[in-house]
Amino acid sequence: MAKLLLYNIIRFVALVVLQVFLFKNVGYYNLATPFPYILFILLLPVGIGNFTLYAIAFATGLVVDAFYDTPGINAAAAVALAWGRIIFMRITLQTDNYESYMTPAWGTVPFRWFFLYVLVLSLFHHGVLFLLETFTFHQFHYTLIRILLSCIFTVIIILLFSLLFYRKKQR
């Protein structure tokens, strides 16, 4: 349990640092800006309490916001991501089949599930994020393109991370 907490803290620090110092400066013009820090929220243990999940997501978002100078936007998107995660898991998992403290990472869960999980949730997260950021439906197609391209970018980076820290299911 302590190990899980430690892993998550390390993951949190590493991803947030990477996000605010590296990925903040990476992007395809203004069209694709990756937000791979959401991997931290995605990899929180399956059986985490809803309130805890929301609180952590909110806090993570706020930390990223602090570096992005956009108070609230990333927090809101992260909270939306947490909600999406709860819904997604409720639909696709039977919670009792999985250990409550299991990390839903590639290697522990099947790749297809993991890929879908990352894809759907990052799409949701980015949608909320960019819509809140532009805060208007004016030139909606432009926002839509930003959402899609950023989502692809983020998913690729998350998959690369997962590949990097791939570990076979320990049983």
Partner: protein, 277 residues
């Protein structure tokens, strides 16, 4: 109350989401100028839309009242419009006849009433005393003479058309320079008039042009028409010449009133002769 708590607990994911998301949005709107501005603007827009909607319904209650008001306003606007549509401006073209040192002013006028089918035809134009038109002035059109100013009011004038049984205009033939009187006379055709008082010995050919002679109030050399046929009336020493008029009286739109600057001088001089005679 208990059920409510059960409900909230059951759907805690959603309610917690609302809670945290609301908090985040509050932060967003509070701390980001753009979002704050657009949020306030859109709320204003929303309020404005609702107001417009309510007003749209409320306006039905005052429909008859506002109709009456609009009708009254229409009436007053029409009255004002009437005042403005009457063209007050006068265009004057001055022609300097260098040979004779006689000046003719042309006052442009629009035909407001016209007739060609009567025995005595009259034309009304939209310029009057105010614009410098006096009784007895000649009126010409773009293609020929039109008539003589008969009566003048402040803003309008009536013209005794050439198509009038009393109209007599001094006219001369192109080739012989013989002059006579152009009358519409007994003709009922707006296209033809008669040239009288041309002596028998003058040779007249068909198609010969007829001009104003300059002895009347028209400037000399203005086209009247061309000869359409001639013949001697029995036992008379004068020819009977049929003249095809060049002015299209049936679609007369714009005319020029000829102001002869020396008309008074000329009239006064001729009056002396009359006294002596």
């Amino acid at each position: 109350m208990k059920n409510l708590w059960i409900l909230i607990h059951k759907y805690n994911a959603f309610f917690l989401f609302i809670l945290f998301f609301g908090l985040s949005c509050y932060l967003v709107v509070k701390n980001n100028t753009f979002q704050r501005a657009s949020a306030v603007n859109s709320s204003n827009y929303f309020v404005g839309t609702v107001y417009a909607w309510v007003n749209g319904w409320k306006s039905y209650l005052h429909l008859s009242e506002s109709n009456t008001r609009l009708a009254e306003e229409n009436a007053s606007l029409r009255e004002q419009l009437q005042r403005f549509t009457h063209a007050d401006s006068v265009e004057r073209v001055t022609v300097v006849d260098s040979a004779r040192q006689v000046q003719y002013n042309y006052i442009v006028a629009r035909v407001t009433n016209n007739s060609i089918h009567q025995k005595n035809n009259y034309i009304t134009i939209d310029k009057g005393r105010k614009h410098g038109i006096r009784k007895g002035m000649g009126v010409i059109g773009a293609k020929g003479i039109v008539g003589i100013v008969l009566n003048v009011s402040e803003h309008f004038s009536t013209i005794q058309s050439l198509l009038h049984s009393e109209s007599r205009i001094s006219a001369s033939l192109e080739d012989s320079q013989a002059f006579g009187s152009l009358v519409w006379g007994d003709s009922y055709d707006a296209r033809y008039a008669a040239l009288r008082d041309i002596p028998n010995h003058v040779k007249v050919r068909d198609g010969e042009r007829v001009y104003t002679s300059g002895y009347s109030l028209f400037p000399p050399g203005i086209e009247i028409g061309k000869v359409a046929g001639s013949g001697s009336s029995g036992g008379d020493s004068f020819l009977d010449i049929r003249v095809e008029l060049s002015t299209p009286f049936h679609n007369l739109l714009q005319v020029y009133v000829v102001e002869d600057v020396f008309a008074e001088e000329k009239a006064a001089l001729e009056a002396l002769t009359d006294k002596d005679g």
